[in-house]
Each structure stands twice: as structure tokens, then as C-alpha cells.
Symmetry: C2
Subunit: 196 residues, 2 copies
């Protein structure tokens, strides 16, 4: 069966709505592959969909390991579990990094809008010492001057995740329900009910 609108979007919206009292329901796990071919996995925050697209917005620091991983292997897989509704979404897709050098005006705007939406605290972290290196003793470096709320710091990146497959598992149900959605070349999504 072919659907014009991706049905998984309404399931996801439902899960987000029913979990809205829990801020951590907007956290999911993003897996990438390192240049050595090893799996990498970390928690990131859902920053909404880009405009009216199906592109999932994430933000990241240009100095984080995932940036070099994505440069070599843009494929990613998101695993998003909602404890309240007991359902899991697995998104397979590709990642696109929008950094300060991007010259597409729409993407420049999207990066700026993402910067403007986050808190002063979150913005300050992009001025902190390099993540993942030996802990900086000088605590003052973790309390920089509050950055402009308009113009992103150069370390700030928008990461766009474009899904081409969604595996939706609902643990409630006897047996559980599981659906696989596939993006077709014409932009439509197919849906297949599969065994859990």
C-alpha cells in the first residue's frame, strides 16, 4: 500500500503529545559509524522538523566526534523510545551538517533560527573548551560572556537527518504491532506490517 502522507508522522506526533510532560521524551539516540568502521551512539535532543519537511533537526558542536564521523559516513540511525507510550521508532537515514561556512540561504536561515531558539545556557556551551579533551582546570572558561542570541558562534552546527525508513514498534498489544515505512523515489511512503 502506498500513502501520500507519511503515516509515521502522526504516530510520532501522538507519542510526543502524550509524553509532553516529560522533557526527556524529546531525547533520542543517534548512531553513526566512525572512520574505523565502528559503531558510535549518543543521546541528542530533538529540535523539531525543518519547516514542513520530514527532516529531523539536531544541533551539535563542530568539535564533537560525530562531525568527522558524518563527513566520512553520512548514514545514521536514530532510536527513539517513548517510555510513557511504550513504543519505539527507528529511523534510518542520512545526516547533513550545516556549519558556519554553509552558503545555502535557506540552510543559513535554518541554522540561525535553531540558534535563536535555544537558551543562553545552551548557547554558552558552544564557547566552552573543546569537548572530549582533558578537563580544563580553569573554571572561568566554562563561564564565558553570554554569546549573542542572534548570530551563532562558529562552533554551532545544525544537523539535518533525512529518514528513508521508519520502523515503528508498539509494545502495547498482543502481539505487539510493528510497521515498516519506506520512502519511495517518487516521495511517497509505503507501509508494511511486519512481525514484531
Amino acid at each position: 500500500m502506498v500513502y501520500k502522507l507519511p503515516e509515521w508522522r502522526s504516530h510520532l506526533a501522538g507519542a510526543l503529545h502524550r509524553s509532553r510532560a516529560k522533557p526527556h521524551s524529546r531525547y533520542f539516540q543517534l548512531a553513526t559509524v566512525s572512520p574505523e568502521g565502528l559503531p558510535k551512539n549518543r543521546t541528542v535532543v530533538f529540535r523539531g522538523f525543518l519547516q514542513s519537511s520530514n527532516q529531523i533537526q539536531i544541533i551539535t558542536d563542530s568539535r564533537s566526534d560525530k562531525v568527522s564521523q558524518i563527513a566520512q559516513q553520512p548514514a545514521g540511525e536514530i532510536c527513539w523510545y517513548f517510555s510513557k507510550t511504550r513504543e519505539q521508532f527507528r529511523f534510518s537515514g542520512n545526516l547533513l551538517l550545516i556549519d558556519y561556512q554553509n552558503n545555502n540561504s535557506e540552510l543559513i536561515d535554518a541554522r540561525q533560527a535553531a540558534w535563536q531558539k535555544i537558551s543562553d545556557n545552551a548557547r554558552s556551551q558552544f564557547a566552552w573548551p573543546k569537548p572530549g579533551t582533558t578537563r580544563t582546570d580553569n573554571l572561568n572558561l566554562f563561564a564565558p560572556e553570554i554569546p549573542s542570541d542572534q548570530e551563532p558562534l562558529s562552533t554551532f552546527c545544525l544537523l539535518l537527518f533525512t529518514p528513508h525508513q521508519v520502523d515503528h514498534l508498539q509494545l502495547r498489544g498482543e502481539p505487539q504491532n510493528r510497521c515498516l515505512y519506506h520512502l519511495q523515489s517518487n516521495g511517497d511512503w509505503t507501509i508494511e506490517h511486519i512481525n514484531p
Copy 2:
């Protein structure tokens, strides 16, 4: 600095204890790499450590995709986020599959013990139709005779994850605290405080 006992174990035990009212705090996300070099990510359940080791126990169906992924690339990365304590553990390590053909007596016992610990409902799922294939219409196949609670079905596998690096991030704190633990060849773990 070198520690004789892995300090991360006490942090993890603390997080599990403080989250004990939430069954989903025992769920984490396991990333692997497919034979095509693509990242794969899914939620699995923590089944405790094997005896007095640091090996994390997971159970899986021999017919699931991760089994063939691990056969080609045994590396895995676990991302475990505790919403209650606001901390994340990232475990890098290797996966070992213990299936019905294993002939190591200790591992045979471990697999059997894991089978005996799960519920009838959980055991029945290993007799269900093949996961991930087109949904079986015959609902009777999802209500098989309850399997023996002693002898595992042949589809039942124990998966052992041996970590060699643990990245522990505590979001509470100004700035947040982040520690990297490394397993040395002599079995000791080093600890390094790094920038969040």
C-alpha cells in the same frame, strides 16, 4: 590514575538504584554496524552482569538482524541514558553471541540461566513467527504452547557485551561532569576527567 576496581560500576549501580521504580531505566540503546557499513540502533533490555564480570547480558532472537551484523562486526556501542538522574553512560566494546550450538559449559549455563529468569510471555516470543518479515495473519502462531521454563528454545541467544571504554556524563553540575574510563591490558581501568 589507575584504579583496581572499575569506578564506573558504582556510578552505574547508583543510577540503577535511584531509578529502580522505573522499569524502563533498564532499557538502553545498542548500536552495531551492518555488513554494508551502516549504523544500526535498537532498544534492548539490561539483563545484569555475567557473574562477577563486567560483561553486560542481553538476550536476542537468533533470527534478528543484529545476529548477522555481529557475526561480521562484533563491535558495539551502548548508549544508556537515565532520565531520573540525568546521566549518560556510553559503553564501547565487543559482542559475543551464545547460541544453542555453543559448547563452553560456563556459557551454556549462563544462557540457560538467562532463559530461566525471563517470564513465560518473554519465552513464548522465541516461538513466534520470524521477526521483521511480513506480518503473519494467523494469530494462533503468536499464541504458541508455553515453552519449557528450563531448556531454552533454539532461537534464544545470550549476547555478552564486554566494554573496554566507558564515557560517563552527568548533566547535573555546572559545568557538567564527564569521565572517560579505559580498560588496560592488565585488566585495570584508567580514569580521565574530560570536558563535557
